[in-house]
């Protein structure tokens, strides 16, 4: 609770305070607790004597009368003792039991837990068993028995309650420590000979502490309630001392004649415990910077456990989260600065872990050591910087371990965003530049460019919104999407227009965070609740999907438009058999019986190349390989022969060889079913190889469209140029790569005028004031640049 602020010095405390003031609810709760604490300290002085003095001339006075002085404002009991004075005196007793009990169990439990979790093995097992034994026994009963041994008193209450609650902290601390143990930097710390207690103090304790303090705040409620329950049962605090629980017990005897005696102490308990709960949940959100805004947006904390290092999952982030990162970064930074022992370092250690994994992936021991040496922010910067250089070299020299590096680069960017906490702009840029270089490496192969025939007329439709070409099955016109963040709406997609014909593949190309995924989700009607379409049209066969009701829209989901997601593991429901999931479209849309739908599902599995489909239909997603899972996901999407299939980075999480197979499958299906395919990718090579046309996106808008070979062969927009230049081509092996300077703007901070101007080598004055529209530059091509024509003619 408030104790968390004590660690960080006056400046930090002040910021915590400011944060607290912003949340009226938490503020009120804190105020209540302060009042209770004051009562506890001053109460015995003010009321100690009044509370126990019997006054037989004033028995059973009703409350809410000031005739007899403040002490009688809440009435008096049958012995004439004033209730208000007793309440005050009882506050002291209550806190005198609860606070020491919580502190004891917190200290003992967390140290024990961290020790157990750090070492693992038998220490961990024995500790957990002990915790099990204590927890498997109802704590009240334990207390009852023990209190009979030691005779009830405040001290034995503290003892009993502390023992009963130790396992709670033990388990929490152990879980967190065990999680850290599995991280690479801990291994490294161990190989460097850091002693176990030193390692626990430096690496484990800081990241476990916020969680433990939150647990302690909640536990405070539990202990208070337990104390009052025991006192109520007559085996806790003993008269003549007073506690709230004891007062309720006494009030129970006089319930019929004097209801107020039982009412007020109970209210006091409720108000105190509820305040502690409210403050605890506030503290949980505040100490975990990642969670604060996500919770506010109703999102799941990403990569909270174990996900962070996994490249696939790490990348499963949608643009929405990124979009909000604009404002999140603000909170993050504050969170980090505010709690050096808390959330901030958690973020830092998290990203350091990410880096060390990256280093490991690159298998340069140098990096590893750097990242490992320490997980403080500084070294972590080192690691980042080093691996940047490394990656560049690698990128230029080597293109076989692409996959690994992809993963690495992406997770770096991720972690950096996350740890925007300590985000000096430099780090950020490094990571970004890095991932740019990485992401587009593929184009090395595709750059030579297979000449792909472009479709005509698409542009006209795209820019005007009129279905010019007769074959345009999907027309997106002026689509805009906002994400609602605590700091206000962020425009993540701004007037995006494109069109696709049946049987055609359009690649929506752009870096992570440019809004391409968000566009796809908006088109498919699958936006998260925090995101909202604020303008534009999505025409499927001339019908505006955005104008349809939920029911009509559901009818089109599957037969009209379907979507394939990038991370097939999380896109398949882990608890249902794949047969059930594949049968679902038939059950929903065609009303088939279970049996018939299953038969269709098996056919579908055979079609996408799952061996032994009949028996495998009863298997669950985790029993399939990554490639097979992606096939299953594609099968689900194409089950009802959709007119448009949107594939959101369908191969990013896969090995290179599997990537090719999946792309081939998509190509076959597109041909068979005459689908329009919208391929969302950050991979120039993939676009070059598989798309007919391409729409390049930057900062939420389309900056260039046209036939893929023409656009990638002769870009009409400086951004597309920059992308291509940052790709290492075969003949340039060893030459220095040029990358686009700077990093893409956060969606909340897109510069006025042309969004790209701050990084553009061609930027002039006009770019700062006038936002260029997407205008035709050549037949079937368009670019959103004031100099598009010049580039086209040059």
């Amino acid at each position: 609770m408030l104790d968390t602020s004590e660690a960080g010095g006056p400046a930090v405390r002040r910021r915590w305070f400011a944060l607290l003031l912003r949340d009226r609810f938490a503020c009120a709760a804190a105020l209540v607790l302060v009042v209770v604490a004051l009562c506890a300290v001053l109460g015995p002085l003010l009321a100690g004597e009044l509370a126990t003095r019997q006054n037989l001339r004033a028995p059973g006075r009703p409350p809410f009368s000031l005739d007899h002085g403040w002490a009688f404002v809440l009435g008096s009991d049958s012995l004439g003792r004033p209730v208000a004075a007793r309440l005050l005196a009882a506050a002291g007793t209550t806190l005198a039991v609860a606070v020491p009990a919580v502190l004891c169990s917190l200290v003992i439990g967390s140290v024990w837990g961290m020790w157990a979790g750090y070492h693992g093995g038998w220490r961990e097992n024995v500790s957990l068993r002990v915790a099990d034994v204590i927890l498997s026994f109802p704590s009240l009963l334990l207390a009852v028995v023990v209190l009979y041994v030691f005779s009830p008193s405040a001290a034995s209450l503290v003892l009993v309650l502390a023992v009963a609650r130790i396992p709670v902290y033990l388990r929490t601390a152990r879980a967190e420590a065990a999680e850290l143990r599995s991280r690479l930097f801990m291994d490294a710390a161990r190989t460097f000979g850091t002693g176990s207690w030193a390692a626990i103090r430096r690496h484990v304790a800081p990241s476990v502490l916020p969680t433990l303090l939150t647990v302690a705040a909640l536990d405070f409620c539990f202990v208070m309630l337990a104390e009052s329950s025991l006192s109520f049962l007559g085996i806790g605090i003993q008269p003549p001392d007073v506690s709230w629980g004891l007062m309720v017990a006494q009030g129970r005897q006089e319930l019929q004649s004097a209801w107020w005696i039982a009412l007020f102490p109970g209210l006091a308990i409720v108000v105190t415990t509820v305040s502690a709960t409210v403050l605890a949940s506030w503290a949980r959100l505040t100490t975990d910077p990642g969670q604060r805004w996500r919770e506010a947006l109703g999102r799941r904390p990403r990569g909270a456990r174990g996900d962070r290092g996994r490249s696939g999952a790490g990348r499963a982030v949608e643009d929405g989260e990124r979009a909000a990162a604009g404002s999140a970064a603000e909170d993050d930074r504050r969170g980090a600065a505010d709690s050096p022992g808390g959330g901030g370092e958690q973020a830092a250690t998290g990203s350091a872990a990410g880096d060390s994994e990256q280093a490991a992936a690159d298998s340069t021991t140098e990096d590893h050591k750097h990242a490992a040496a320490d997980s403080t922010t500084e070294d972590h910067k080192h690691a980042a910087a080093d691996s940047t250089a490394e990656d560049h070299k690698h990128a230029a020299a080597d293109s076989t371990t692409e996959d690994h590096k992809h993963a690495a680069a992406d997770s770096t960017t991720e972690d950096h965003k996350h740890a925007a906490a300590d985000s000096t702009a430099e780090d950020h840029k490094h990571a970004a530049a890095d991932s740019t270089a990485e992401d587009h490496k593929h184009a090395a192969a595709g750059d030579g460019g297979r000449a792909v025939p472009g479709s005509l007329g698409g542009l006209a439709a795209a820019t005007t919104g009129k279905a010019a070409g007769g074959g345009d099955v999907l027309v997106v016109d002026g689509l805009s999407v906002d994400v609602h963040t605590p700091a206000g709406p962020v425009h993540v997609v701004r007037r995006v227009s494109f069109a696709v014909r049946s049987g055609e593949t359009l690649a929506l190309l752009g870096e992570s965070g440019c809004g391409k995924s968000m566009t796809a989700h908006a088109v498919a009607g699958l936006l998260d609740p925090v995101a909202e379409v604020v303008g534009g049209q999505v025409l499927l066969d001339g019908v505006d999907l955005l104008g349809l009701g939920a029911r009509a829209r559901r009818r089109l989901a599957g037969p009209g438009l379907a979507m394939v997601f990038q991370d097939a593991l999380s896109a398949l429901n882990p608890v249902l058999t794949v047969g059930t999931q594949l049968a679902e479209p038939f059950r929903i849309h065609e009303g088939l019986s279970r049996r018939a739908a299953r038969a269709r599902a098996v056919e579908l599995m055979e079609r996408v190349g799952i061996p032994e489909a009949r028996s495998r239909a009863d298997a669950h997603p985790h029993q399939f390989s990554g490639g097979m899972r992606q096939r299953l996901l594609i099968a689900t999407a194409v089950a009802l022969r959709p007119k448009v299939l949107i594939a959101d980075e369908p191969t990013t999480a896969l090995d290179v060889t599997v990537q090719a197979q999946i792309m081939d499958l998509l190509g076959e299906l597109r041909g068979e079913q005459r689908m329009a395919l919208v391929l969302i990718t950050h991979d120039l090579g993939l676009a070059a190889e598989h798309a007919d046309r391409v729409a390049v996106m930057y900062a939420g808008t389309v900056v260039e469209t046209g036939p893929v070979a023409e656009v990638l062969g002769r870009p009409h927009h400086p951004y597309t140029r920059g992308l291509l230049a940052s790709v290492p081509a075969e003949q340039q092996r060893g030459a220095r790569l040029s990358s686009i300077p700077g990093s893409p703007p956060e969606p909340g901070a897109v510069p006025a005028g042309c969004a790209f101007r701050t990084r553009c080598p061609m930027a002039r004055e006009r770019c700062a004031t006038h936002r260029p529209a997407l205008t035709g530059t050549a037949a079937g091509r368009a670019a959103a640049c004031h100099f598009g024509k010049e580039l086209a003619d040059a």
Binding site: D132, G245, A262
Partner: protein, 308 residues
Amino acid sequence: MLTLLRRRAVSSVIPLLFVVLGVFFLARLTGDPANLYLPLSATPEMRAEFAARNGLDDPLITQFGDYLAQVAHLDFGESLRTAQPAGEAVLRAFPATLQLAGWTMLLAIAGAVVIGSLAAYRPNSATDRIASFLSSTAASVPDFWIAIMGVLVFAVTLGWLPTSGTSGAAAWVLPVATLLIRPFGVLVQVVRGAMVSALSAPYVKVARGKGASEVRVVFGHALRNAAAPALTVAGDLAVGLVNGAVVVETIFGWPGIGKLMIDSVLQRDFAVLQAAVLVTALAIFALNILVDLCHALLDPRIRQRAAA
């Protein structure tokens, strides 16, 4: 599945033994029953005779050995208070508590699933905020006080419900409501949290992308995934119900095992206390296994791990 059961059973035996052992010795430390059952003027001879009759003169370790041997023959000894077999007393009280706890958990889970899902469906909406505040309040109110206020309002003032007893449906309302309030509050929060994360999972989007109705999305796809954490917590809460039962049974004069245990501690009635604790521990043991089974039923990954 059997492997899972066996492993769980074996790993739970040791805690069970510790509980039995702990209660046996701790109970012996709570004082000499002779002080309670014999008149103050009792002579040392009378005391010795009392101890010998009840097997209390042997060394503790012998007493424990005898006790274990008896338990193995399902003989729990005799109540000092009523001179009846302790096992019978416990078995008479046990169903009353089981019924009380069973109804409470059933209602708490059902209510929490509905309200938690509603709150999670639109995070941060008015519904969500109200549900979150009320549930966190419910989770932190003192149950004994709620019980007394319930008696004050519904029994004393309005006269709708009886103050104690077990006869008739009306007599169940206050005890169940009192016992329910905290587990319910906790469960709503757990279900809400689990549902928020399940509903934002990609597979939910995929289900929506297939054109699944919202009912199908929430109950067919998300709920089963959200059930695991809720189930774990529900198991812990069910164990904790014994705490609540002690309070509620005392207040409402419910002839259950919680009241029996409190009474036997107060009366130094070792045999009954030991039998009651053993039966409770066995019930908790069975409950844990049940929870594990449910986990395995819900999640194929656990089944596979168990089989491996």
